[in-house]
Assembly symmetry: C2
Homo-oligomer: 440 residues x 2
C-alpha cells in the first residue's frame, strides 16, 4: 500500500493561500530561437505550484528593448508579482536592467558591494573583470540586491506600487539557489505563497489518459468543485487533485486519493513526484536487493535513471552500454552463436544481456534493453521503434517485445519507462509474496 505523504496539519485547507497573480517573463532571443530550453518556466512553475501558487502566465519576448518594455508594462499592470529571468549578463544583448528601470521611472545606481563581489569571484578563478562585467554592479535606486553565490550577475528585488518585481540571472545554477534561499522566504514572509504543499498528485502507469478520467469519474463526481488536472507523459499519467476554493481540507483530498489508488491497484506508481526509477529504488532498498543494467539503443540513459538517484550505490551495481556485438560478447558474455542466429535485437539477446549483466556484477535483478530506435538503424524483420526488454530476477528470466511509433528521443524514454515498470511489477510481486500469509 503506497503512502500518501501527510502535509502537516490535516485540518489545513488544500487551497492556495494567496490570491496574488504571478507572471514570469523569460527573456532572451536564445529561448525564442530554440538555442536553449526554457527550463526556468518548468522549474519556477513547479516551485510555485507546490506552494499553492499557480503561475498565471509566462511570456518569452525578444531581447529588443521595445519588446521587453511593452511586455513588462502589460505584465506589471496585470500581475502582483512579476519575475524576470535572463538579460542581466555582461554582453550587449543584455538589456533587462536598463529597460525595466526606465519603465518604473527608477535610476540605476552603482553598487560598490556588488563590484567587490564580482572582483572577488573573478579573482577566485585568477581572472580580472572587463568593463562590461562591471555593468552587472548596477542596482535600482529604490531596490535591493540578491547576492549571487554562483555567478557575477546579482538578482534584483524591487517593491513599488504595492507590487513586486524580482529579476533573476539566466544560468540555472545561479537562479535556482537564489530562488530557494532568498526569493521563496521573502515571498512567504510577505504572505505571497504558502510554505506547504497544496495538492495531491496520483501518479499512474499503464492506463491511458481518457481511460483514467473515466475510471476516476464516479469518485470525483461525489466532490463538486474539486480541482482536477491530468498530465500524460511517456506512458505515465499524473492526476493532480486540489481544492481551488478551499472547500476541501487535506484530509478529504487524501481520502479521495486513496479511493483512486484502490481503483488503480498495481497501476498506481506513487503519490507525489517520485520518478518510476525512484519508486523501484525504494522497493529494492527495502528488500535489500540489487540491480544491474545492460543496454544498447538507450545508450546509457537506463543506467542514468538509476545512477542519478541519491544513494544509488546502495542498490545499483552499475551498467553496461553495449552498442556493438563485440561489446555484448566481451562484457556480457552473450554467446556469439546466439547473436549470429537471432541478431542483437531479439528476445534471446535481451535475456542473455539481462542475465549476463546480473551475473557479471553479482546483482539480484538484471534489466536489459536492446532495439532499434531510429533514425539511422532498423529495417528487415524489426521495424523502426522495435525494442526488446529482458528481465532477470531471482525467480526467472524473461523477454518482452515493445513497438513504439515516434521519434528517437521519445522511443528511448518510453522504452526506459516500460522496462523499469516491468521491473517494478516484478519486484512488487515479491513484496506481495512477503506480505501474503503462506497457505499450505
Amino acid at each position: 500500500m503506497a503512502h500518501i505523504p501527510a502535509h502537516s496539519d490535516p485540518a489545513r485547507q488544500g487551497a492556495p493561500t494567496t490570491s496574488s497573480r504571478y507572471e514570469l517573463l523569460t527573456l532572451g532571443d536564445e529561448l525564442l530561437l530554440g538555442l536553449t530550453a526554457n527550463a526556468h518556466l518548468t522549474w519556477i512553475g513547479a516551485q510555485l505550484g507546490r506552494r499553492g501558487v499557480q503561475l498565471q502566465r509566462n511570456v518569452t519576448v525578444t531581447d529588443e528593448a521595445d519588446a521587453i518594455a511593452a511586455q513588462f508594462r502589460e505584465s506589471w499592470a496585470r500581475a502582483d508579482v512579476v519575475i524576470t529571468t535572463g538579460g542581466l549578463g555582461p554582453t550587449c544583448d543584455d538589456r533587462t536592467r536598463e529597460v525595466l528601470a526606465a519603465v518604473l521611472g527608477q535610476k540605476l545606481v552603482f553598487d560598490p558591494r556588488t563590484e567587490e563581489a564580482i572582483r572577488a569571484r573573478f579573482a577566485k578563478f585568477q581572472r580580472v573583470p572587463t568593463a562590461n562585467n562591471l555593468k552587472q554592479a548596477y542596482r535600482f535606486e529604490r531596490g535591493e540586491v540578491l547576492p549571487n553565490a554562483n555567478g557575477t550577475a546579482p538578482g534584483l528585488w524591487v517593491e513599488q506600487e504595492g507590487k513586486l518585481l524580482i529579476m533573476l540571472p539566466g544560468p540555472p545554477n545561479e537562479l535556482q539557489p537564489m530562488f530557494t534561499e532568498q526569493v521563496i522566504p521573502r515571498l512567504a514572509a510577505r504572505g505571497k505563497l504558502s510554505d506547504q504543499e497544496a495538492y495531491i498528485q496520483i501518479r499512474s502507469i499503464g492506463i491511458g489518459e481518457s481511460a483514467l478520467e473515466t475510471m476516476f469519474e464516479c469518485t470525483f463526481s461525489r466532490s463538486p468543485g474539486l480541482g482536477i488536472a491530468f498530465c500524460a507523459h511517456q506512458g505515465q499519467v499524473d492526476c493532480r487533485i486540489s481544492s481551488p476554493d478551499g472547500r476541501y481540507g487535506m484530509e478529504k483530498l487524501r481520502a479521495i486519493a486513496s479511493e483512486c489508488a484502490a481503483l488503480l491497484g498495481d497501476n498506481l506508481l506513487c503519490f507525489g513526484h517520485d520518478s518510476i526509477a525512484q519508486v523501484v529504488a525504494d522497493q529494492l532498498k527495502q528488500q535489500g536487493r540489487t540491480l544491474a543494467v545492460a543496454e544498447a539503443s538507450t545508450g546509457g540513459m537506463l543506467a542514468n535513471a538509476f545512477a542519478d538517484l541519491c544513494g544509488a550505490c546502495k542498490f545499483f551495481q552499475g551498467g553496461i552500454v553495449s552498442t556493438s556485438n563485440e561489446a555484448k560478447m566481451l562484457m556480457l558474455e552473450c554467446p556469439e552463436c546466439l547473436l549470429k542466429q537471432h541478431g542483437a535485437v531479439s528476445p534471446e539477446c535481451a535475456v542473455a544481456m539481462a542475465s549476463g549483466v546480473a551475473e557479471k556484477l553479482g546483482a539480484d535483478y538484471g534489466l536489459a534493453i536492446t532495439g532499434f530506435s531510429g533514425p539511422c538503424t532498423g529495417g528487415g524483420e524489426n521495424p523502426l521503434g522495435s525494442i526488446y526488454i529482458g528481465l532477470h530476477s531471482p525467480h526467472g528470466d524473461w523477454a518482452k517485445q515493445l513497438t513504439y511509433p515516434g521519434p528517437r528521443a521519445a522511443v528511448k524514454q518510453r522504452a526506459i519507462n516500460d522496462a523499469i515498470d516491468w521491473l517494478r511489477r516484478e519486484v512488487l510481486k515479491e513484496t506481495h509474496r512477503i506480505a501474503a500469509p503462506q497457505v499450505n
Copy 2:
C-alpha cells in the same frame, strides 16, 4: 580547418525572407506548474529560426477558457501567424478548440474522416474510442484538418482576416512530424518563411562569453548593422551572425565567420549546430579510430552522448557505468590496491578507468569520468563538484582534475562537455600531426 556549410546560392541574402510576425501560444496548466517542460518553444523556435523567422513571442497561459480567449485575442491582433500547442486532447481540461472557434466566430463541425482515423488508430491497438475521444473529430467550419499520423488529435489550419492560425497537438511525437511534413511546406508555399538557413553560427569552447565578445569586437565593428547574438551553455559559447536588414549576403557572412574562426584557433568547435560529441565522432571516423568510455558520477550520460549519434557503431565500442568499486574492479580491472590507496575519485582511478575500458573493448581512445557530483555524495578532500577525467590515447594516458560549482545536473553536463573537449583537442593534435610536413 573547419568547413562553413555553403547555404545554396552565395549571392543569396542572409536576411529573413519574411516580415511576418509569429507568436506561439503553448497551452496547458502542466507547463505553468512545471510538470512538463515547454519543449515546443525550443523546438518550434529552432525550426523557425533556421528558416529566417524570429518568433516574436511565446505565451503560456492556464487552461481556463477566459485566459486562453483573452491571450488569443491579443496575439491574433498583433501577429500574422499564431501557432498554438496543446489543449486538443480528450479530457475536460482540453478547451482550446472550442475557445478559439468562439473568438474567431466560427462553428465547430464534426469531421467524419477524422472520426474514421481515430477509430482506425484505436483499432490498431485493439481498443475502442470513448465518447470524449470523439471530441477530437471536430474541426473549424472554415478550416482544414492536419492529419495526425501518430495520435488521435488532428492539427487544425485556419486562414482568416489574412492571418493564419495553426493548432497543433501537445505530444512532441505527434507535433513534430506534423510541423515538418505539413506546416513548414504550407508556410513556405505562402511565403511566410524561407526554405534556407538564414544565419551562420560559430560554436566555440574554452572561452567565456565576455572574452569572446571582446575577441570578435574588432572584426564585427567593420560590418555595421551585423546581427550578433551570443549564447553561453555549459562551457560552450555560440555566436550567431546574420544580416537582419539584408545588407550582407551569405558570402560576406561566411567571410566574417572565417575571420572569427582564425581568431579562435583550436577553440573553434564548429560552424552550425553539431554537438561536441558529433564533432569528435566525425574526427574519429575520419581517422578510423575507435572510442570506449567509462564513467561513475555521470551515470551513463557520457556514453549516451556518443551512442545517440547516427552511425555511432562505426566508432563507439561501448561504455561502462561503474558506480561501485566492485564494478570498477570487475569490469574495468581497476586494481583493488589502487582503489584502496587513492579512492575511486582520484587521478589514478581516472587513468585506470580510461585505459581499462579501452583495453577491455579494444578501442584506440578511452575516456573516463569519475567524481562526486552531489547532492548526496562528496566530502573530505574532494569537495562537492570535484571531478577527475582520464584519457587514454595511442600516445599516452593522462588524468586531469576539474572543479565546478552548481547543482548536480549542471556539473554532470559540464564535466561531460569538458571531458569530450579534452578528447577533441587530443584527436585534433593527431590531425595536425598527419597534416604537418615531417621536418628531419
